[in-house]
Amino acid sequence: MRLNPLTSLALAGATAVITTAAASWPLSLAVAAAALALAVRGGIARRLLPAAAAVLVPLCLSLLIMHGLFFPEGWTVLVQWGPARITVEGLAFALERAAQIAAAVLALLVFSFSVHVPDLVAALSARGVQGRFAFVLASTLTLLPAVTSRVHRIRQAQESRGLVIRPGLLHRATAFRLQAVPLVLSLIEEAGTRAAALEARGFSNTGPRTSYRAVPDSRLQRTLRAVLVLAATAAVAARLWLGRAGT
């Protein structure tokens, strides 16, 4: 069964929220493992893993350095040299946070790497208010590769005209300017043309839209979405209420 993109979004979001609210590291690790398993099964692991690593590795390193070495609130000292003390509490805090963040990041990344962007845009713009948001999302995702290749072309053009990036801040700033100005200028010019074209096709008009792309949806999925949103809200509320009672 093909899921509606909104259903998978609700699934990923609710998973992330509930894991954060539960704040128990066994659950976090289980969610992270489940997300990885889903990614492997869906055949997106090869694209997902580098993206996840780029996000998570610096973050976890930073957490380990920060809390592993310096945790003034910790009292069970393992090793100490100078002002740096490795404490059990610091390490536990760092690992717990890292597991929690990894679970949320992996759940959301599985969604964004598995979702079919045209389906997501169609599902969003079918609901009126989000038409503009859908445009921004789709436009950014399609512009990004185009602009990356344009940056290369501008760089080649400027290099063929004698641009050499020498060391030194001033030279680098000049080189940056030589490449950034044509890029920004062309993008803004194009945006103006696109605005006129969109306006002529009724972009700002309010009212119902029709779409050529039919996104599968069912009563079951609609119910599931509602249940997921309610569950996430309930988890947050329960956590806050318990937290209030605990302190």
Binding site: F70, L143, L183, V184, R239
Partner: protein, 291 residues
């Protein structure tokens, strides 16, 4: 470039009032979350699981940012909406470019500030928030910073409206002040949601303050006060350079720039800008002498 529709009824005052209400609610959600977090911070950052604050930070800031988007996005003209994806792409591409070649800073707001200068504070705020939301498609950890990014876009637009971009030396000053405010507001997110910062270098600064016995929030706020103002000063300067390098025809197609006289010397320097327009795409003359 765009004009109000001639055939469709324009939205009535009720719709405008609803949007204004949403805007205010969004701002109140963000401000309230910040105040709550700062007042309640020491209790559960290290004692207990510590995720109640994370949830409050996440939900409060996110709800505020989404409310702002819902309030602002439908009111923007198509010419501005079309610029938002450009801004997001510039945030990503120029940020990477500068980060890898120019200076060791994390310049991820160039596009947002550019749109704020060209199209005003409302567009800047929407661009900042949308930038975080769309970027979280690839990097979910930037999602909680949506409110901070919206604030930076809004402040940049206000600075432009009040003429901070008319004098070249005022732009970095405005950026510095914006960085202070933005850094202070974003610090609780870094502290409570992530328990630290995302970079190893900034993490080292936080560790230094922690080793002096600061609380986590205090350490991260101090770290933000060290790196953010400098970062935003550079971003504002880069944006000033870019905006003044645009040909006059392109600049003046934005009503915000015309109405509030955002840039210097719009009326008199016909010859200079014509020369710049003639050499479009090639380096224009050193910018910034616009006063």
């Amino acid at each position: 470039m765009s004009s109000p529709s001639l055939t469709l009824p324009s939205p009535g005052p009720a719709a405008a009032r609803k949007r204004r209400l949403l805007e205010i609610l969004g701002a109140v959600a963000i401000a309230g979350t910040y105040v709550y977090l700062v007042l309640n911070q020491p209790t559960d950052i290290t004692g207990g699981p510590g995720s109640a604050s994370a949830l409050i930070a996440l939900s409060g800031f996110l709800v505020g940012a989404v409310l702002l988007i819902v309030a602002v996005l439908p009111t923007l003209p198509a010419s501005t909406v079309v610029l938002i994806p450009v801004a997001l792409v510039l945030n990503i591409v120029l940020g990477q470019f500068v980060g890898s070649t120019l200076v060791p800073f994390y310049l991820d707001a160039i596009g947002t500030v550019l749109i704020a200068v060209l199209a005003g504070p409302a567009a800047g705020a929407a661009t900042g928030a949308l930038s975080s939301i769309v970027w979280s498609f690839f990097n979910p950890t930037v999602l909680p910073f949506a409110a901070g990014a919206a604030l930076i876009g809004c402040l940049a637009g206000l600075a432009a409206r009040h003429g901070m971009f008319r004098r070249f030396y005022l732009a970095p000053v405005a950026g510095f002040v914006t960085g202070i405010i933005g850094g202070v507001v974003s610090a609780p997110v870094a502290a409570f949601v992530f328990g630290g910062t995302s970079g190893v270098a900034t993490g080292a600064i936080v560790s230094a303050f922690r080793s002096m016995g600061d609380t986590l929030l205090a350490a991260i706020t101090k770290q933000a006060l060290i790196s953010d103002p400098m970062d935003k000063a550079i971003v504002f300067t880069v944006v000033a350079v870019l905006v003044y390098a645009l040909p006059r025809r392109t600049r003046l197609q934005f009503p915000f720039i015309r109405r509030h006289r955002v840039l210097a010397g719009q009326a008199s320097n016909e010859a200079r800008t014509q020369a710049a327009a003639a050499t479009t795409g090639s380096p224009a003359q050193p910018t910034g002498q616009g006063s």
